[in-house]
């Protein structure tokens, strides 16, 4: 039978199945962080259950960490306690932890791929919905709740009904200034925020074949924003070259053996998906969102659509925008470049290439937050920090930061923030904050101009 990439990886991990019920899926890698793990450790302790495979768990501190003065004690007692709890739990159970300040610390979805922890053909989970990021390697990667974190602790398995399969194909080549973030914002704006619910989504076609691993991670990251538990891209030479030589990647002949297996994973010609969408790269422009879900996106120089329903109107009222209006020239006081969607070196390169030789607008507070200590080091090594500082920006330290505003990086009430993160929900970046999602290029241009501009005009 013809199989999809998803089928091949899934079927290779099924331990057993309950009749008319879920399957037992084996999990290769389990990533944990401070926010969604403590109650799972607590559950096991209360029930006297040991952790089955601590060597298959990797921990990092990212959601609730400061992005300044990381070498100093954390001021907020609750945050401090949560991080201490993670350290204690990891120590007690023999779990590798890259804690705050460690050279490998970073956002879980940035540090794991860059360390070679994420590999094709794996099953990988984390108590975070953006775990879909790792599907960029052709792995089955998805977010789980804390009860499921406890299940994986106890059994290295999850009970799951096999999701359906969908494929989004984008052929052609992207126009200048159109980044992977624009591609995924465009897809979600076209198919909606629940088109993927119940599905795993494979991204196929020339656009993804020609995309870097970092771009693929940006795309797969936002699969959950269209409801899909996970996104996947077939592993190819780009994937193998990225994985090769990384700290935890297989070495020598092991690597060659793995590559031979990974090459068998792409979807068979003629395999059937439950649902398919096809788009043309030529139709994709630099995007921005105007509402309070990631599906409410338009091209940056476009018009906000007209819709009658109350949820749509509530959303526009919250944002302070009008149906039919445009976002161009809207003054913006906050810009955030960071998050597990767009905080990798390529994101900072593209931002730096735009701001080089220019000055940040005076009205703008811009937060540049690298995804990991390694990205931070790379930004400094490549001289990008100098470019940012000369343009009036300040580089902060790694973490999830203003993407979810659990730490002090909060956008004030009523303020707009052009953000490279993944969610524009009400209050996501701080109570009353108003988020406009965009690519690092659009974000950089906004920071320079202090208002939303038509980036396509700035490139020509």
């Amino acid at each position: 039978m013809k199989k999809t990439l998803f089928d091949k990886v899934w079927d290779a991990h099924v331990v057993d199945a309950i009749e008319n019920g879920p399957q037992i899926l084996y999990i290769d890698k389990h990533l944990i962080h401070e926010v969604t793990s403590p109650q799972a450790f607590q559950t096991l302790e209360e029930r006297g259950i040991p952790i089955l495979r601590p060597d298959q768990i990797v921990a990092t501190a990212d959601h609730n960490t400061p992005t300044l003065d990381q070498d100093k004690p954390i001021k907020d007692p609750l945050s401090r306690h949560q991080l201490e709890q993670l350290s204690k739990n990891c120590e007690k159970h023999g779990i590798t932890l890259y804690e705050l300040g460690h050279q490998y610390n970073g956002i879980v979805h940035v540090m794991a791929p860059e360390l070679g922890i994420t590999q094709p053909g794996m099953t990988l989970v984390c108590g975070d919905s953006h775990t879909s990021t790792h599907g960029a390697f052709g792995s089955i990667a998805f977010g789980i709740g804390t009860s499921q974190v406890a299940q994986v602790f106890a059994s290295q398995c999850l009970l799951l009904k096999k999701p359906k399969k969908m494929r989004v194909t984008v052929n052609g080549s992207l126009k200048k200034g159109v980044l992977p973030k624009d591609v995924i914002l465009y897809i979600i704006s076209q198919i909606g925020t629940n088109a993927g619910t119940g599905y795993f989504c494979e991204y196929a076609g020339e656009v993804f074949e020609n995309m870097s691993m970092e771009g693929r991670m940006t795309v797969c990251n936002m699969s959950i924003e269209m409801g899909a538990r996970g996104g996947m891209i077939a592993p190819d030479e780009t994937t193998f070259n990225y994985v090769k030589g990384r700290k935890f990647a297989p070495k020598g002949s092991d690597f060659d053996t793995k590559v031979a297996y990974w090459k068998t994973l792409p979807t068979d010609e003629g395999a059937v998906f439950d649902k398919e969408y096809t788009f043309d790269a030529a139709d994709i422009n630099p995007m921005i969102t105007y509402g309070t879900n990631p599906g409410m996106g338009i091209k940056v120089n476009g018009h906000i659509p007209q819709q009658e329903d109350t949820s749509f109107q509530k959303s526009l009222a919250y944002m302070g925008f009008e149906a039919g209006g445009r976002l161009l020239d809207t003054p913006i006081n906050y810009v955030f470049i960071g998050s597990c969607t767009n905080s990798r070196i390529e994101d900072f390169r593209v931002a730096a290439s735009f701001v080089k030789g220019k000055q940040k607008a005076e009205n703008v507070t811009a937060w540049l937050v690298p995804g990991s200590k390694q990205v931070e080091a790379q930004i400094i090594d490549e001289g990008l920090r100098d470019i940012f500082e000369e343009a009036g920006f300040r580089l902060r330290q790694p973490g999830c930061s203003a993407c979810l505003a659990m730490n002090d990086d909060k956008i004030p009430e009523g303020e707009y923030c052009v953000s490279t993160s993944n969610r524009n929900f009400e209050g996501r970046q701080g109570q009353g904050s108003r988020t406009l999602l965009a690519s690092p290029l659009v974000a950089a241009a906004t920071a320079i101009e202090g208002r939303i501009v038509d980036i396509t005009k700035h490139l020509n």
């Binding site: 331990v15 057993d16 008319n20 019920g21 879920p22 037992i24 084996y26 926010v35 969604t36 403590p38 109650q39 607590q42 029930r47 259950i49 089955l52 959601h63 609730n64 609750l78 306690h81 949560q82 108590g127 975070d128 919905s129 977010g143 789980i144 709740g145 804390t146 009860s147 499921q148 299940q151 106890a154 059994s155 290295q156 398995c157 999850l158 009970l159 999701p163 925020t193 629940n194 619910t197 119940g198 959950i224 409801g227 538990r229 879900n293 329903d309 109350t310 949820s311 509530k314 979810l404 505003a405 659990m406 009430e413 969610r423 929900f425 009400e426 209050g427 996501r428 109570q431 009353g432």
Partner: protein, 194 residues
């Protein structure tokens, strides 16, 4: 986990679509290391004004409505995987959420905490909203065994639930119990794939 069989109660209509888990429990309340107390902050930024006073226009603050069933617009529970959202709804006193569509991760989290997600048709959902808003005293019955939702013993719709999850809810079992019973099989699987 608390068992669930049948429930008859009035309901609270939250007529908003795409309710995300950031609204159910904002991130700033995720700093706790246990499961307690999240109910106090459920829908925090809709329920309360910035000064801490209740927002009287929000349905949970409207004395007209009460009950342990929440009726919500389509795509309920989208966004973050935080199980704190399920803990918050349960902590506040909800046992059932009715919607025409649930986000995947939320649905799983709810089921793992004895909170029953009841997915109904768009038409039935609209009927529920209309009926409850016209008469807030309307009783809604959820019968898990029969997989039915009934408005005032009259209008009925069936709902789907995974048979395994149904058994878990009816008996108060959770997945850990089941997975631990399969440990030998899991270890055998590891040995064959290593």
């Amino acid at each position: 986990m608390e068992k669930f069989d049948t429930l008859t109660t009035t309901a609270i209509p939250l007529e908003i679509e795409n309710v995300d888990t950031d609204q159910i429990i904002p991130a700033r309340f995720l700093k706790a290391t246990d499961k307690k107390g999240f109910g106090d902050n459920v829908f925090r930024d809709w329920r309360f004004q910035k000064d801490g006073n209740p927002n009287v226009s929000f349905v949970l603050n409207d004395p007209t409505y009460s009950g342990s069933i929440l009726i919500a617009g389509t795509n309920f529970g989208c966004g973050s995987s935080r199980e704190h959202a399920a803990w918050a709804l349960v902590g506040y006193g909800f046992r059932v959420v009715v919607s025409s569509f649930f986000a995947d991760i939320f649905k799983g989290n709810a089921l793992n905490n004895g909170l029953l997600p009841v997915q109904v048709s768009e038409e039935f959902l609209q009927l529920l909203f209309d009926t409850v808003k016209t008469n807030p005293e309307t009783n809604i019955t959820i019968n898990l065994e029969a997989q039915t939702i009934i408005i005032e013993n009259e209008i009925k719709e069936s709902f789907e639930i995974d048979p395994y999850k149904k058994t878990c809810l009816l008996n108060g079992y959770d997945d850990i119990d089941y997975l631990l019973s399969k440990l030998e099989k899991i270890k055998k699987f590891e040995a064959t794939t290593a």
